[in-house]
């Protein structure tokens, strides 16, 4: 087990390294992407551009620039090329917002998915099951940015039921305001995934209902509801746990960009989108690293948990 964990951690570091190099290269090889020209401004003389290049080390070989930037990311000294703000501080400002969005939505989509999946499996083949399947497929097909923009406009701006975008900090505005600002973003982000989860759970449950241990449970005289909840559900939930971990990692690792932008939550994802627009490499690199870290970390945790839970998986 320890060797397995060690191997996974080593693999994680390798992937993080590869991703950071790739991201750095993407911005290094853009033609005319030289940051010193933009930083010195359009009216700068060649001498001023050269000064900026020297000051920021853009005259050094690429690998030196890469090593410097990465060192600065880890020591927390990295600053934006555009406005010289500290990138790690900016990410720290956005992180609670992104986490609030991801955690709330994750609870909502897993609860909703399980409820609808159970309901659908219990009524498999009947009209309500069909209706749930249709709704789930529509949910899966929804573009988050479209649904979000419509919800924010009609329920927020026009009807005034919810705030018109923005984020309220718990510390300053209280729990209720925080909740109120997040209800719509949570729901919009969850709608897409509830569809996925309910469908996966429904088919897992139906598989489980044909298994021998369920027949045994029925033979013992248990009611159909008890069979479903106590015998079929626990087994059908295992893949859901995996899925949940991966999706949570994916949302933290960049999947929240659209929701954050549409609802103007000013989280890490929105910071990323704004920085890309300005070709500001340090924040892009730092956020990409962070996002990759979450995806890989959750993948690793899920693998380890799976191995620990399932005796059939040998390490």
């Amino acid at each position: 087990m320890l060797r397995f964990i060690a191997r996974r951690l080593a693999g994680m570091l390798a992937v993080l390294f590869a991703v950071s190099v790739l991201t750095f290269l993407i911005f290094a090889v853009i033609p005319d992407g030289a940051p010193e020209d933009r930083m010195a401004g359009p009216t700068a003389s060649p001498g001023e551009v050269a000064a900026v290049r020297r000051e920021w080390g853009f005259d050094k070989p690429l690998y030196v620039q890469y090593a410097r930037t990465m060192t600065k990311i880890f020591t927390g000294d990295v600053v934006s090329y555009v406005d010289r703000t500290n990138v790690v501080e900016e990410i720290g400002r956005g992180a609670p917002r992104t986490f609030s969005l991801a955690i709330g939505a994750a609870i909502l989509w897993v609860a909703g998915g399980i409820a609808l999946g159970l309901f659908g499996a219990a009524r498999a083949g009947r009209a309500t099951d069909r209706l749930i399947t249709v709704l789930a497929l529509i949910g899966v097909s929804m573009p988050v940015f479209w649904l979000g923009a419509l919800a924010s406009h009609y329920l927020g701006f026009e009807a005034g039921i919810f705030p018109d975008g923005g984020y309220a900090e718990i510390g300053r505005h209280g729990l209720l305001e925080w909740l109120w600002h997040l209800v719509l973003p949570w729901s919009v982000l969850a709608v897409v995934l509830i569809g996925v989860y309910s469908r996966v759970l429904r088919s897992n449950l139906l598989d489980a209902l044909h298994a021998d241990y369920v027949r045994t449970a029925r033979a013992k005289g248990l009611s159909e509801g008890a069979v479903l909840r106590r015998h079929a559900l626990p087994n059908a939930l295992i893949p859901i746990v995996t899925l949940w971990g991966l999706d949570f990692g994916a949302v933290l690792g960049g999947g929240a960009v659209l929701t954050e932008s549409v609802f103007d939550l000013q989280g890490v994802g929105q910071y990323f989108a704004d920085s890309v627009g300005r070709l500001d490499v340090p924040p892009v690199l730092a956020v990409t690293m962070l996002g990759t870290f979450f995806i890989v970390a959750v993948n690793t945790i899920v693998d380890i948990a799976y191995a620990a839970l399932d005796p059939r998986i040998r390490l």
């Binding site: 693999g11 390798a14 992937v15 993080l16 590869a18 991703v19 790739l22 991201t23 993407i26 911005f27 853009i30 033609p31 005319d32 992407g33 083949g125 497929l137 529509i138 899966v140 097909s141 929804m142 573009p143 988050v144 940015f145 479209w146 923009a149 419509l150 406009h153 701006f157 026009e158 991966l246 999706d247 994916a250 690792g253 960049g254 999947g255 960009v257 659209l258 932008s261 990323f272 989108a273 890309v276 627009g277 070709l279 892009v284 956020v287 990409t288 996002g291 990759t292 995806i295 890989v296 993948n299």
Partner: protein, 330 residues
Amino acid sequence: MDEARHALEPATGDDPWRLALRRLRANRVAIGFGALFAVLLALSLAAPLWAHVAGTTPSRNHLADTIVIDGQRRDVVTEDRVPIGPTWRAKYFLGADGNGRDVAVRLLYGARNSLFIGITATLISVLLAVMLGLLAGYLRGWVDAVVSRALDVVWAFPVLLLGIALGVALARDGLRLGPLSISGGSKWIPTLIIGVVGAVYLARPLRGLVLSLREQDFVEAARAQGAGPLRIMLGELLPNLASTILVFVPLLVANAILLEGALSFLGAGVRPPDPSWGTMIGDGVALLTSAPHLMIVPGVMLVATVLALNVLGDGVRAALDPRAKVRVGR
């Protein structure tokens, strides 16, 4: 329903492809939504025809024009920049946008872009995934190690972040990589990005499939007959991957269209003034109060297309391989 299914089950030794086709045909919902997708595709191909009827092009502005409706002369875009809503006539059938461009014409040309990117990106994904899956699964050893690690890296990469970063970075001056040269505003930039990202979803299952197939007797027999690796990969293994690929294709297209929409919405996909559903939705956000049709029309098209592909894909999966665990997108 079980009885109906029973009647469809094969006499022994029936061709599995024919059986799958029969199962799919019996699934009326899937066929219906497949037909819907075909209609949308045909509409997008007919875009120039409608542009001819409407007498404009997707990117031509009509800020100062007027149109006569029921004997009343109305501005296409009023002085406070409110565009006209749906007229249900040849001109401005679905209204105009903030620049006085004909929404219906843009919608159809946007459909061309969105569907072109979705389908082409999926072709790229499938080609890449088949190549990587075959090479890694059949040759194993260091090839497999390299391919698998590369897939790990792309898999770990935050897809949306990668797409945005590449889309914005490349849009400035395009891409020149050896013989490959793409200009900045080209549709090929989002297409390539989405194609590469999508390949991962398919390459992993294909590699696993090849790993198990290569141990089977028919591969051994081919090898004994003196078939080389290339012949085994393309002649023996590839046909056995077909059903898995087919199950993934509609879902990959759906995912690619959604991703294109998201990238274009954020300004990292199709470049204005070229229309795509994503850019049209993005343009519509600012005018949602005065001209809601600008956002609702392309959004409904996007949802309808993706839904059609998802339902069709579900039917294809049920017909070909009901046990398959298929997941595309995150």
